[in-house]
Amino acid sequence: MRRSTAAAVGTLTGAALILGVRLSVQPATVPVSSAAGGSSAEEPEIDAAGAEKTAEPEATATKKPAGKKTTAPEKNEEEEAGLKSGTYKGKAVQHTYGTVQVTIKISGGKITAADATFPKEGFSGTINPNAVKSLNASTLKKQSADVDAVSGATLTSGAYASSLQAALDKAA
């Protein structure tokens, strides 16, 4: 039971990625509505349900997934939230367009990244593996570093004076 959780989550995420269904509840990763979505348009309801499941890690908070772990847990304190931190590989699933394996990363009890891999060999070519791309959840840091320029600093000359870019220009 426990063992299967991560694999199931992975498989369902994979189905969502393949069909381009957006994870709307908690988009830990944002799948692209790929061209493949169009040809599979008759099945969105089933997979939307799958996406909902994968998008709510809290729902399975009482069960700790113990899928095949590929990396060591990152931080012990983050494990309290429910899902054990680490990177989990889902079961390789045979689709008509090839074998798909999904990897999810758990951190702080939440899915922070999901990625689907496609075998280079034996891929049927029905869809381009590159069509399934995502932005990964990342940590919003707050830092002050030594930089040459700042992006997003200002739009107007009025706001410039108080910007980091102005400070850089003065220092030069």
């Binding site: 957006r22 988009p27 944002v30 799948p31 692209v32 509505s33 590159n130 791309k133 995502s134 932005l135 990964n136 959840a137 990342s138 940590t139 919003l140 840091k141 707050k142 830092q143 002050s144 570093a145 030594d146 930089v147 040459d148 320029a149 700042v150 992006s151 997003g152 600093a153 200002t154 739009l155 107007t156 000359s157 706001a159 410039y160 108080s162 910007s163 980091l164 870019q165 102005a166 850089l168 220009d169 030069a172």
Partner: protein, 249 residues
Amino acid sequence: MRHVEEVMGTVVSIELADDLPPERLVELVGSTCAWLHEVDARFSTYRDDSEVCRFRRGEIALADCSDDFRHVLDRCADLWRDTGGYFDANGGGALDPSGYVKGWSVEVASRRLADAGSIRHYIGAGGDIRMRGSGPGGRPWRVGVRHPWEADQLAWVLSVTDGAVATSGTYERGAHVWNPLTGKPAEGLRSVTVVGPDLAVADAYATAALAMGESGLAWLAQRIDEGYESAAVTDDGRAFTSPGLPTVD
């Protein structure tokens, strides 16, 4: 050599890292600024005698406009299509290509500098930056991305040699980033940064994704194959990055 020029309603920072004689660097900065002022005179929506304003009033036909003007309008039309209507130079009711002109003029300025012998420089216009070659000391340029809530902090530091970095954020204009398809203020994303080969495109993509709201994240992921990486922060503080974003840790 570093220079700051107030033009196009914003502030442009220019740094030439080339090993050239000082008088040559001064000349190059001068010609760059002259070009930017020429663009301002032609495209400003605040100058009654600009080409944009004369075209708006119907005083000149498109066929009689400058090559640059027609190029800008063509590209705005391309980008309107490529962004599903979310980048809209006519969104405010009257033609306003400013959202394309700023990035395009810097892109042209950088190319002209390269043609004139400056192969290591950056030009930043109101937070949108085009870099060429390596930076000071021969290392890549280090570009900080402004933290979307704290103006004096950075959310990411990027390492770029040849390329552009553009950021659009609702923090800049309050609720005045509009979703052109609904006519309502854009919401969902707090800031979007796009990194890629062309500043005008990167800027338009960042603006469009911001207007899309959270669905802009999936749209940005589709731009990766075109060579445009991205970073975005949602209104509730979640951050997303594309796998190829050139971050420095």
